[in-house]
């Protein structure tokens, strides 16, 4: 059973320990919040929720914002119903 109510901001906060993830419109990549370590952790945590995103099939720009990541998950869940 896939949990469809993942709070991405909260998940990112757990990974980055920085309240900046809650700032509206923040660029997660340029700000350094989503660095390689956080990237690995984020994808691993999503795997725990049954969401297997493939880095090679993602436009990196979609990872820049919380909204972009939420959309990726939304699209994944739609495709894998």
């Amino acid at each position: 059973m896939i949990d469809t109510k993942i709070d991405i901001s909260k998940l990112l906060y757990e990974l980055c320990e920085d309240s900046a993830v809650y700032e509206k419109g923040i660029d997660l990549i340029d700000s350094g919040l989503l660095d390689s370590y956080a990237f690995i952790e984020l994808f691993s945590r999503l795997e725990d929720y049954g969401i297997n995103l493939q880095p090679t099939r993602i436009d990196r720009n979609q990872l820049r914002t919380v909204e972009g990541i939420e959309k990726l998950i939304h699209d994944y869940l739609k495709e894998n119903k």
Binding site: E17, D18, A38, I40, E41, S44, T56
Partner: protein, 468 residues
Amino acid sequence: MLNRIKRVVELNPNKIAYKVKNNYITYKELWDSSNHYAELLKKQGSSPVIIYGHKSINVVISILACLLANRPYVPVGLCTPSYRLKKIITITKSSLVLTDSGISFANIDVCNLEGLEKYRECSKKIIHNDIAYMIFTSGSTGVPKGVPISKANLHNFIDWISKLKPLCSYKDVYVLNQASFSFDLSVADFYYSLCNGHTLVALDSDLQEDYNEIFELLSVIDVAVVTPTFIKLCLLNSEFNEKKYPKFKCVYFCGEQLEVKTVQKLYEVFPHLNIINAYGPTEATSAVSGILITRDMLKDFQLLPVGEVNNFATDIEIINDEIVLKGKSVFRGYLGNYLGGYYRENGLDCYKTGDIGYIQDGKLYCKGRKDSQIKYKGYRIELNDIEYHLNLIHGVRECVVVAKYNENFVVKMIKAFVVVDDDCHVDTIRKELEKYIPKYMVPKTIKKVDKLPINQNGKIDRKALNEL
């Protein structure tokens, strides 16, 4: 070492020696260009040469040209701010920066390789030097530490890695270079590849941000010299497996702690992969030990071994739980007056690594540090180095920098806690810090606090900080 490369050139003149993106150079072209520029370098001066660049073909020619000219090379990555580069120039007493970057400094010649032609009419200098290269690492006093590695050290390392199983059995393979040339993990892929007639394929920094390019590149690779973090990134892709990447036969890890679960995942998708876990500080020429990680080790070990006693590149002893290196791999002390862990004993160069380790059943283990030095993203960082530069920033009154570890004691982030003036903002601190230290050293999180917690002994309470 140069004779070894020369033999490779004679045997494989038209073979590709080095490839980055769509550019490549054959062994003969590399040898001829390097010799050409070496002659000019002998006329320019005799001091160490700063090579400020990333992974271009010119950087590789520059390295070989310096070795041929008997001038130590100092690889400095483009992520190094000019403030730090100036310090390195001062410490090395260098008179030349070779770069394609377009930077300029007063009182020192900064040019690209072609720019050396202006020395054509000068006479050659007499150069006596047994130093091959100098790599700079983070220093606890805020000043980067220069580690000179002699040609004898390097020769010993090349001899060791070229005999390391199964690397010694490969012929005509493609070797992946992931690390920047300023990070000594690259010493392993660079010299293993060029001295054994393989083709070195560099992963450009731009590519590291493009996952599709990484996987396209990996499809031609036989042997990867990488950090565990890099492979963890690759493992996120479910198509990274033996069926899709049948050439991929060996991975050499160094620079970070290798976790059991990373090896487990790798074996799941590459059942026939050879996995080498290597260990060594910059002060002892990239690596002094390495061991093939077998499946049996995964069952019994929480901590993976980093070497075995019958296969060390130099003498290794455990003294008061600390790994101490002695002999052929060990450098002759830092540039300048800093002594650190270096000492001489019975005519041997020795180095107290600061790594806590032990030997059990003939295998070497490393389980952490005695001090505040950390390994993060493969880089060696002194937390005091970051604190020193935070304290230089206007408005920062007090600070402390801590590393956060995951459950396997691998550093997952660097955090800074600062007490600042009211008008001092985190964004400003970050930007200022990037002027002083490379970006990989800048803490991921900089948190403003009213005061730093103090424990009963009057020291900073680091445990309490982690809970803030």
